[in-house]
Amino acid sequence: MFKVFWERFKHNKLALSGLIVILVLTIQACFAPFIAPYNPTEQNIANRLSPPSGKHFLGTDELGRDVFSRIVYGTRISLSVGFVAVGVAVLIGTLLGLWAGFFGGWVDNLIMRLVDIMLCFPTFFLILMVIAFLSPNIFNIMLVIGLTSWSGLTRLIRGECLSMREREFIQAARLAGLKNNRIIFVHLLPNVFTPILVFATLGIGSAILTESALSFLGLGVQPPTPSWGNILTAGKDYIHTAWWLSFFPGLAILITVLAYNLLGEGLRDILDPKMGDKNG
């Protein structure tokens, strides 16, 4: 099965290019100290706000720090926020979705009302609020983004499970005398793997966007730790003089999120059962 998947993946230009960019970014995050030419927090007031040049090829910021080095280190923040937040969301979303879809009845009702409430809230305001009350550190940010972004997945998985419950293989599993847990995790879960994978990939992109927006509003990862959002915030005050300060971190966000979106959509194309055989 994996062979077939890889065969299709190789021919999907979108997914492949997304994956390559993501690999490069991951390497960049892991080996940041070897890639960054300068210490990202080292200040050099004499050399402040210098435009891109051979020495600092993305320029320096208002405290004379090397923008390129800061962006390289910022990768770590963005990627880890993306991964952990999505991990939390996938865990909650999948479990609740499977339960709602499998048990139905009042369990389903309760979970779906919860989802409705989450969907009604302007999530970003909720995140802002919570982060403001609990100090804005990276751990809280990951957790809060994760806790506020599971509802879409729950809805998706529940829908899939409900339609699957009508399908005869689930009835057959019941008739074989299997326990509920086995039916949920062995029979249902593999069948919702595709939406989970796609959700996770697209979710990482959107979590990175949320984190950078938070940082941009001053409620993200706090300086001097470099994050793409807070470099951009600093840039906001110098838009008249130092365009590079706001341009490059934004571009970094764009490329990263784009890579995840390309991979996610590519995976959807490859794995969507509607595109393939009846059940392949």
Partner: protein, 267 residues
């Protein structure tokens, strides 16, 4: 002959909400006061059109849904008091749609193997992995499938082969009674005959009993000695197939036999 399954005054009503805001509900009498019995080693045919309640009866017997009223006895014991395992051990089902009845993400070995394992657990036997594999292969051979397909997935098989896998899964439990809910109606004609013949072979080899549900009267007549005709939740006619076919008493049965397209050149 002895009764294997006996159904007494079975009722199942569904309640549908009529409108978005209305409180009065529409009652659908899916199974309305039905009694019949299946004898050991017989194929009992159950004929009716869609919505007549024949699938509801199947689901009630295997307790995928529960009746409002009435009792079902298996060898004189009430099925309602059976544990899930005990019921599974005795009654199994073959489904209509060979594409929907196999989990696309599980291998054939897993699909049949988990049933074998449940059976071993019930009977208290302890089987090694190798023994389970041997058992799966034996069952696959019984239903006429190659025995080297354990690690293959359902999408690699055609409709007819999938239906064989479904039958193998039911057989893996070594049940006494098999409920076959329209097992061939979504298969091609040339494949239908293969499956029908297989069911007949299995019946003889394992002395199985069948409740054979179908909308095709010809098929039921060919397979079963005795049949029931269902219409709107009620059994309207019951008796020997040959008899019903030749001399239907009920108005609906007459209409049903009337409307079967006949190959006039053969008469």
């Amino acid at each position: 002959m002895e009764d294997l399954l006996e159904i007494k005054d079975l009722k199942k009503y569904f309640f549908l909400k009529k409108g978005l805001f209305s409180f009065n509900k529409e009652t659908i009498k899916a199974v309305d006061n039905i009694s019949f019995s299946i004898k050991k080693g017989e194929i009992l045919g159950l004929v009716g059109e869609s919505g007549s309640g024949k699938s509801t009866i199947a689901k009630l017997i295997v307790r995928l849904i529960y009746p409002q009223e009435g009792k079902i006895f298996f060898k004189k014991e009430e099925i309602g008091k059976f544990s899930r395992e005990k019921l599974s051990k005795n009654v199994q089902m073959i489904f209509q749609d060979p594409f929907a009845s196999l989990n696309p993400k599980l291998s054939i070995g897993t699909i049949i193997g988990e049933v074998v394992r449940v059976r071993n657990k019930i009977s208290g036997e302890i089987c090694s992995k190798g023994e389970v594999r041997e058992e799966i292969k034996r069952i696959l051979a019984t239903v006429g499938l190659p025995i080297n397909i354990l690690s293959d997935y359902p999408h690699q098989f055609s409709g007819g082969q999938r239906q064989r896998i479904g039958i193998a899964r039911a057989l893996a439990m070594r049940p006494r009674l098999i409920i076959a809910d329209e097992p061939v109606s979504s298969l091609d004609i040339s494949i239908q005959a293969q499956i029908i013949n297989l069911l007949l072979d299995l019946k003889e080899e394992f002395n199985l009993s069948f409740l054979f549900i179908a909308h095709d009267l010809n098929l039921v007549k060919y397979l079963s000695q005795r049949m029931l005709v269902m219409y709107k939740g009620k059994i309207v006619e019951e008796g020997l197939s040959e008899e019903i076919y030749r001399n239907p008493q009920n108005l609906y049965t007459q209409q049903l036999i009337e409307s079967i397209p006949k190959i006039k050149y053969w008469l």
